[in-house]
């Protein structure tokens, strides 16, 4: 089957085999290694990407299902050469240790903020509950998302 979809703002065409997951497609076909394979059953959040602005688990999403839709990965989050406020906040808070969950976590946060630009700590925790950080950096992640949301609101206000 031929698949056509938008990946990080660019139209892409490919022919994945039957049953290929979106995660496999991104990592193996497009060499975008940011989304990770952590569990293969949608339980850990490490594979999270945006599909039409909503956070999805790429490891349990069929590649075929993104036909005609917009996929956003960590690699496409920032504008050329810069850093997205979420990325900046995660660095400032050192909201990671090993960092393996981090790309998925940031994309999960991006999806959360798309739906709710002003989440309080309780909503952040609820919204990211599908993401596991085994290193236990949860408090810093909550703080990073809270601060990034403030920055994004200010920037949106300016534009």
């Amino acid at each position: 089957m031929t698949l056509e979809f938008e990946l990080n703002g660019k139209t892409q065409r490919c022919s994945p085999a039957e049953g290929v997951t979106l995660l496999d497609l991104l990592r193996e076909e497009f060499g975008l290694l940011g989304a990770k394979l952590g569990c293969g059953e949608g339980q850990c959040g490490s594979c999270t990407v945006l599909l039409d602005g909503r956070a999805v688990r790429a490891c349990i999403t069929r590649a075929a299902s993104v036909s005609g839709r917009k996929v956003g990965t960590i690699e496409g989050l920032a504008k050329a050469g810069g850093l997205h406020p979420l990325q900046r906040a995660f660095i400032d808070q050192q909201a990671f240790q090993c960092g393996f969950c981090t790309p998925g976590m940031i994309m999960g946060a991006a999806g959360l903020l798309n739906a709710n630009p002003s989440p309080g700590p309780r909503e952040i925790k609820a919204g990211l509950d599908g993401h596991i950080c085994r290193c236990g950096t949860y408090p810093r992640i909550v703080e990073a998302v809270r601060l990034a949301a403030q920055v994004m609101k200010k920037e949106a206000g300016r534009v």
């Binding site: 990770k36 850093l83 050192q94 949860y138």
Partner: protein
């Protein structure tokens, strides 16, 4: 075999080192570097090989002053999120008097780096840092014609600062390459046919259906059988088509293990030079028990648990001219080099292990596992082979934290002070067995026993088990004596720094003004572990379900080399401890491990996050202690204490809710 090698390797690094005794015993500029391909690839400049001696052990350090102004240090330690990379680079920058950004650290490459032991036992801070500092200071001294001297903490410009991880930008942009992200030209993915049993031997296998798939190769080497393909999905499909027959060995039911431990227990002998002495004796037990006014005996049990690193392990092995290079994420590259060499019957110098910063280890990635598998398959296939474990393999193929049976018996006098204690740990281990309490007559010992599943290191090893038993025993005494738990601790602790940590945390937490109410309770725990002084106070609610609402903790680790990293480690360890405290438990039946998927194994999540107040006391004048492990020993007993206060029943096993 692997376990024997690991024990023997660890023995080489046993024994405490007194920091004041570090000295340079050999210093040379390497002249023959250009003939060594691996080092040649690092560009020109000056290479120094410095040997630092502490007592009877010599640690080699290599430092390069590159032509382009970069300072490069080489260490066998690796990075798995705990911050070794940043603090070692800080140490080099400090003693070479250069900016942090000038330092590059090459970690965990057996061709380039010295063997300074595995990344375990919280040793980087107390051992590797002083060695690297001495070596860097020696290079600085030789370049400037000054005597060798270390920078005093009051003059620190780089050490002692909360410098962010140098890989931060790569991590948040998805550009950090983990072992499971590595790819190699011409590589094949391997999907290994796994036995469904805990222990079994491969009898026969029908690979005919698998071989029909286009592009699939089957490789078998004794018990190892794999399907190889250019993509993982095809390899996995092929492996599923293989009909393998196994002869399983049955495993006793976990309910019988405690009795089996007692039956197979080997009497401990004193080994005071060991890193974790298995027997500590003082005074005379009979005398001690006679001197007490009351006596108490309690038993405790810990279930085996899994590490669950976010990244399932992966390795790529490539053979060239009889030599294999393995890119992977192991915690002990030189140990794994030995294990690979032995498994493949080649000399060690025919094996190169290159460690990449990995997605979490927690003690679970010490051995060669997928690394040995990849090396065997790559040799059989004649091309590079990648073995990337699935989450199911990560649960079932490696070792778990040992189960533990603990028996504590003690006597106390009319002032609430210990007169005697007999403390026995079966199977879990001797780490952290030394009590933080002053007990004039004691026998504290670890019984090695038969174990029925693969077990091995886990963050803080047996210290979680030992501190849980010890602290729950304290809570039982506190209730019987009607003495405040903090007061009981203070009456039995001589160490001034631990007393301060407990009192400070109690005050910050508001311990004295706590009000136990329906469905709300409070608890505390403390420890003195690997030179760290620690205390944790918790508030929990018990309805509708048990939830930790609030935590306050203080840690005194001596000098904080990177205060923010230290706080991150302490917080992360305490939070990881929530899992082992409340829910984590591996389940087995007679032949299989039943726990195989993340959906079957509850780990701490955002929903479990309490309010946290974590403080570190930074004592610059005291040599830094490692902090990666010890805080995890606080969580279970503090919550256990709170549950005891809430229910009146003493929790006797972990996980607390099962």
């Amino acid at each position: 075999m692997s376990e024997d090698l690991r024990q023997a390797y660890k023995l080489r690094f046993e024994g405490e080192l007194e920091q004041e005794q570090y000295e340079i015993c050999d210093f040379r500029q390497e002249a023959d570097v250009t003939r060594r391909d691996a080092l040649k690839a690092l560009g020109g400049g000056l290479f120094f090989l410095v040997a630092v001696r502490a007592q009877d052990r010599v640690a080699p350090v290599r430092i390069q002053l590159a032509d382009n102004g970069v300072v490069r240090a080489f260490t066998g330690k690796m990075e798995m999120g705990q911050g070794s990379r940043v603090i070692l680079a800080q140490a080099v920058a400090e003693e070479l008097h250069v900016g942090f950004e000038k330092v590059d650290l090459v970690m965990g490459d057996t061709d380039l780096c010295p063997d300074d032991g595995g990344t375990w036992a919280s040793l980087t801070t107390p051992q590797t840092i002083p060695v690297i500092r001495q070596a860097a200071a020696a290079v600085y001294a030789s370049r400037n014609g000054t005597p060798v001297s270390l920078r005093s903490p009051k003059d620190w410009r780089v050490l002692g600062s909360s410098i962010p991880k140098p890989t931060s930008r790569a991590i948040v942009t998805g550009r950090q390459i983990y072992p499971s992200d590595l790819r190699r030209e011409g590589m094949l993915h391997a999907s290994i046919v796994r036995s469904p049993h805990l222990k079994s031997t491969l009898q026969k296998a029908d690979v005919s259906a698998a071989e029909q798939l286009s592009g699939v190769r089957i490789v078998r080497s004794e018990n190892l059988l794999a399907a190889l393909s250019q993509d993982m999905r095809t390899a996995a499909s092929a492996a599923r088509l293989i009909r393998a027959e196994w002869s399983p060995e049955p495993v006793p039911e976990i309910a019988t293990w405690a009795e089996e431990f007692r039956k197979s227990a080997v009497e401990p002998v004193e080994q005071n030079q060991a890193r974790y002495p298995p027997l500590l004796r003082l005074g005379n037990l009979d005398e001690g028990f006679a001197a007490g006014t009351r006596r108490l005996k309690s038993d405790y049990w810990l279930s085996p648990i899994a590490h669950v690193p976010m990244e399932p392990r992966a390795a790529i092995a490539e053979w060239k001219d009889g030599r294999v290079t393995i890119d992977c994420g192991v915690q002990a590259p030189f140990l794994v080099r030995q294990q690979v060499a032995k498994a493949l019957s080649v000399p060690e110098d025919k094996v190169r292990i290159i460690v990449h910063d990995s997605g979490g280890g927690f003690g679970g990635k010490q051995n060669g596992e997928c690394e040995i598998e990849a090396a065997i398959l790559a040799r059989g296939a004649g091309v590079p082979v990648r073995v990337a474990w699935s989450r199911e393999e990560e649960f079932t193929q490696s070792y778990s934290r040992p189960a533990g049976l603990l028996e504590v018996e003690s006597a106390i006098d009319s002032e609430g002070r210990f007169t005697a204690m007999r403390f026995a740990n079966y199977n879990a281990g001797p780490a952290g067995i030394r009590p933080q309490y002053a007990i004039p007559h004691h026998w504290v010992g670890y019984y090695r026993t038969k174990s029925f599943v693969r077990q091995g290191s886990y963050r803080s090893l047996a210290a979680v088990a030992n501190n849980f038993a010890r602290e729950m025993h304290m809570e039982e005494w506190s209730a019987r004596l009607k003495l405040d738990p903090v007061e009981l601790r203070l009456r039995n602790i001589a160490d001034a720094r631990l007393r301060e940590v407990i009192e400070k945390t109690a005050a910050r937490f508001g311990w004295k003004s706590r009000k136990t109410a329906q469905g709300r309770a409070f608890g505390m725990s403390c420890n003195l572990e690997k030179d760290a002084r620690l205390a944790l106070f918790v508030e929990i609610s018990t309805s509708p379900e048990v939830r930790v609402l609030r935590m306050a903790a203080t840690g005194d680790f001596g000098a904080a080399l990177n205060p923010d990293n230290l706080k991150n480690q302490m917080t992360g360890a305490i939070l990881q401890g929530l899992g082992g405290a409340l829910w984590e438990k591996l389940e087995f039946d007679a032949q299989r491990q039943k726990t195989r998927r993340l959906s079957q194994y509850r780990v701490p999540r955002f929903r479990d996050l309490p309010e946290m107040d974590i403080e570190v006391i930074d004592r610059r004048e005291v040599d830094g202690a490692g902090a990666g492990e010890s805080p995890i020993t606080l969580t279970a007993p503090a919550i256990g204490a709170a549950l005891f206060a809430a229910t009146g029943k003493v929790p006797r096993s972990l996980p607390l809710l099962s």
